[in-house]
């Protein structure tokens, strides 16, 4: 019996896909890389995932796990010959502990569905990547996703307490747990952000966060993007940690307004979206400080969302940014670099200069609070050579950020797309240490091979000469 027959025997014919067109349908995530899997399976239980992994091992097939396919770095893009394990059907909320503020969920559960299910219990799941209406919690954990509110709440790793994992040889492990400081190595922390290279997460115990008693969302407009960037720096410099602090440039504002009609100031050169949460007094005071810093930096308008609907509309606009840019051109390339906040204004200027030099169209929407830039190049891949130009320019932008003391990726993961830039931020010794971790969990290099770590990351991969 071949692998397909064994998988059909296990899952039934409806949950095993091998037709060419089905494999093409699963070839992409939301980024720029692509690769068709050999077989696609849709398991529903941990036991099925373990059995699938054992079948893959028996037939020496590489395994790639996938959630909703909203990743931007190719982490869930199949490598040649891969068995693609699609986890969307494992979307149960197994348990909610309101007192302990935890939930046990399947990896295929959509991020926002968890918070929706908690309406009325005054709790929510804090990681809020822009893709949260579609992305799965398993995928959020794989990439250690961030989002606007991770500025104050921390990224996904701060919200995953424990994971159930199917290892490369088909064993089922439990890592971490509800206890605040589980004994032994923190393998839970290691698993979050490992992009499916160490195992497949089949269940997660996540932390739930209490809804803030009061929220103020402010939209601040500027005539000059440098004023906006300086305001962002100054707010953090003043010792405030807003719940979120986002920035969008002029082109981005126009594209978003086209979709949501949120009344964004389309004439502004840039806007900051700032949110402060907490008890009424503290919130009012923080909002006051932000307003005065903005005014000092020549803000032209400070608008405060008057109710929950207006607040939701402003966030819907911000979180639709990547999709909205398609109105400008059919393809986009999105960076995820992080720069120290003190270098924000300079790096931003250099990035716009690179775009000008290459003659490409750049839009910017990013997390101003933690210096996580998302320069976004909008282009048409059907123009010959255009993709190469864009990738080259984007790499140059990364180099500028890294030279300023920043790093490759804030929250999207490394995947395939940024893998070969890893040596920009890590020494050979650093990379070797990471490769040894992967070696320990996956000696046969079956789990999502070719992702995260560049070829030759392990010292023993390199010729000895």
């Amino acid at each position: 019996m071949d692998a397909t027959a064994r998988l059909i025997e296990l899952l039934g014919v409806d949950r095993v896909r091998t037709e060419p067109i089905d494999r093409m349908v699963y070839a992409k995530d939301s980024g720029v890389t692509a690769g068709e899997p050999a077989i696609v399976v849709l398991p529903e239980t941990t036991a099925e995932v373990a059995a699938v992994v054992r079948i893959a091992a028996a037939f020496d097939m590489p395994i790639v796990a996938r959630g909703a396919g909203t990743g931007l770095a190719g982490g869930a893009v199949a490598c040649p010959g891969a068995l693609l394990v699609v986890l969307t059907r494992m979307n149960q909320i197994v348990m909610v502990d309101e007192v302990g503020r935890t939930a046990l969920v399947g990896p295929g559960l959509i991020n926002l569905d968890l918070s929706h299910a908690l309406v009325g219990r005054n709790l929510h799941f804090a990681p809020d990547p822009s893709s949260q209406q579609a992305s799965t919690i398993g995928g959020n954990a794989a990439t250690n996703a961030g989002g606007p509110h991770c500025l104050a709440e921390g990224s996904t790793v701060a919200h995953v307490l424990g994971v159930e994992v199917v290892s490369a040889d088909g064993e089922i492990l439990m890592l971490g747990g509800a206890a605040p400081d589980p004994p032994g190595y923190d393998l839970r922390g290691l698993m979050v952000g490992s992009e499916g290279t160490l195992g497949i997460v089949t269940q997660l115990l996540v932390r739930l966060t209490e809804n803030p008693p009061q929220t103020v969302t402010m939209l601040i407009a500027f005539d000059d993007i440098n004023d906006a960037a300086r305001t962002g720096s100054d707010i953090i410099g003043a010792g405030l940690v807003p719940a979120a602090l986002e920035m969008m440039d002029h082109e981005m504002i126009v594209a978003i307004e086209n979709f949501v009609s949120a009344g964004l100031p389309v004439e502004a050169d840039a806007v900051l979206l700032a949110e402060v949460v907490g008890h009424a007094d503290g919130v009012a005071e923080e909002a006051g400080v932000i307003r005065s810093i903005a005014v000092r930096n020549r803000a032209t308008d400070v608008r405060v969302a008057s109710d929950e609907d207006e607040r939701a509309l402003l966030w819907k606009g911000r979180k639709s940014a990547f999709g909205a840019i398609a109105q400008a051109a059919p393809d986009y390339y999105l960076n995820d670099t992080v720069v120290p906040r003190t270098r924000f204004v300079d790096v931003l200027g250099e990035i716009y200069a690179i775009a000008d030099r290459y003659g490409i169209r750049l839009m910017n929407v990013f997390h101003a609070g933690d210096g996580n830039l998302h320069p976004l190049v909008s282009y048409d891949a059907s123009q010959p050579g255009m993709t190469d130009i864009v990738v080259e320019a984007a790499h140059e932008m990364v180099c500028v950020a890294v030279a300023a003391g920043g790093t490759l990726s804030g929250e999207h993961g490394i995947g395939l797309e940024k893998r070969d830039l890893m040596d920009q931020v890590f020494t050979d010794v650093d990379l070797d240490a990471q490769a040894r971790i992967s070696q320990a969990f996956d000696p046969a290099r079956r789990m999502n091979p070719g992702k995260v770590l560049p070829d030759g990351a392990r010292c023993f991969d390199r010729p000895s000469s």
């Binding site: 349908v25 699963y26 939301s30 969307t88 579609a134």
Partner: protein
């Protein structure tokens, strides 16, 4: 593989999707299956594969296209403004052109050819009406069960086409009414309520005689040439009217897209107004009375009103003017599974969605649900318990003011 019809998804349309995936959770079939091939993004990927010659237009492609409800909830979710409904109609047209003997041929003949004939629709409706009277529908299953969920069909089957109605005083204007294919036969009370409300506001209502089915069902099934023929006939029939009132959301949504179907289509499209939209506007203009009251009533949005036309407030405003308090049963606006003929062609998916909707209605604890679209009404009736009443907002309103 090259596309062969004028309605195939265009390169620009295919390029307009950037694969962000924000549509996935809005898609009912993705929600049920978790399968990318049952999602809008996956369907576009399949269209691209065929358009680019990388995959054949085979049975599997046809199946992927056929599972789509065409509810267009993905369009509401899409920040890239991808015209998915248009592309799906085109892709189905290609399936029909490449695979004329596909199992879906029966549907194309039914909705492309037969439905345009008033005589045949009347005969078929009369047959269903007889089955209803003989009690056959209540004991049947599948399509027959749906027939039980229909309102009793009057025999002889009435038609609005060719008639006109005058207001009591001097008309403030004239509007044309689409009599439709099955609306005439199966939902004449809705027509009557709409006509009476428009008369009350002071309008003369004319149902032009030579009009025909709007062609929505043909377009949905990929009978593109028939859809174009029906659209052209209506473009002629409605020539000269400033405003065309359509009281079925599927039809009004389709006619607003006539620019894709007939040479003079854009001219007609711009004058089409959904009955809910129009009556709500007349209320705002103070041309219709407002009844005070606080009767709770659930509201279910037809996809082709909410997603295809982005009309959300209008039916709520009409219920409000009828002395009712609209109660939301589904903030996400997920399809009830009716989806026109889909409830007959894909009973499994349709029933699963119908049950979800029935659970939402039960969760909202309402005894009456208003749905301004005949297909949805039929689907809801088939799924809610017998003590829950399903009504049309404009009929509710007319009932209160007459």
């Amino acid at each position: 593989m090259a596309w062969v019809t004028d309605w195939a998804p265009t390169a620009d349309e295919l390029n307009s999707c950037i694969d962000c995936g924000l549509c996935l959770p809005a898609c009912p079939t993705f929600r049920l299956t978790g399968d990318e091939s049952a999602s809008p993004r996956g369907r576009i990927a399949a269209m691209r594969a065929v358009a680019g010659g990388r995959a054949p237009l085979d049975g599997r492609f046809a199946e992927i296209m056929d599972l789509c409800l065409q509810c267009r909830a993905c369009e509401t979710a899409c920040p890239s403004l991808v015209p998915f409904g248009r592309m799906m109609e085109g892709a189905r047209g290609e399936v029909a052109a490449h695979r004329p003997d596909a199992p879906t041929i029966g549907r194309r003949v039914l909705f492309g050819r037969l439905i345009g004939s008033r005589v045949l629709v009347a005969l078929a409706s009369a047959a269903v009406g007889l089955a209803q009277r003989a009690g056959l529908a209540s004991v049947g299953s599948g399509p027959l069960r749906k027939a039980a969920a229909l309102r009793p069909i009057p025999i002889p089957v009435p038609t609005a086409a060719g008639r006109e109605w005058l207001p009591d005083g001097t008309p403030i204007g004239t509007v044309a009414l689409l009599s439709g294919c099955v609306m005439d036969a199966w939902y004449s009370q809705t027509h009557i309520a709409v006509i009476q409300v428009l008369r009350t506001a002071g309008y003369r209502v004319v149902a032009p005689p030579n009009q025909t089915c709007c062609g929505a069902l043909a377009a949905h099934e990929g009978a593109v040439y028939d859809a174009a023929r029906l659209a052209e006939r209506n473009a002629e029939a409605f020539e000269g009217y400033d405003r065309i009132v359509v009281d079925s959301a599927g039809c009004s949504a389709h006619m607003k897209g006539y620019r894709h179907w007939a040479d003079g289509g854009a001219k007609v499209a711009d004058r089409v107004v959904d009955a809910n939209e129009f009556v709500a506007q007349l209320l705002t203009e103070g041309l219709l009375p407002v009844i005070e009251g606080d009767v709770p009533i659930g509201i279910q949005d037809p996809c082709h009103l909410r997603h295809a036309q982005r009309i959300v407030e209008a039916p709520r405003a009409i219920l409000g003017a009828a002395g009712c308090v609209p109660i939301e049963i589904d903030p996400a606006g997920m399809c009830c599974g009716a989806a026109g003929a889909y409830q007959l062609t894909h009973p499994d998916v349709s029933d699963q969605l119908g049950r979800i909707k029935a659970d939402q209605i039960a969760g909202a604890g309402v005894a009456v649900v208003a749905s301004p679209n005949p297909g949805c009404e039929m689907q809801l009736r088939a799924h809610v318990p017998p003590d829950v009443e399903v009504v049309h907002p404009i009929e509710v309103y007319w009932d209160k003011i007459k």
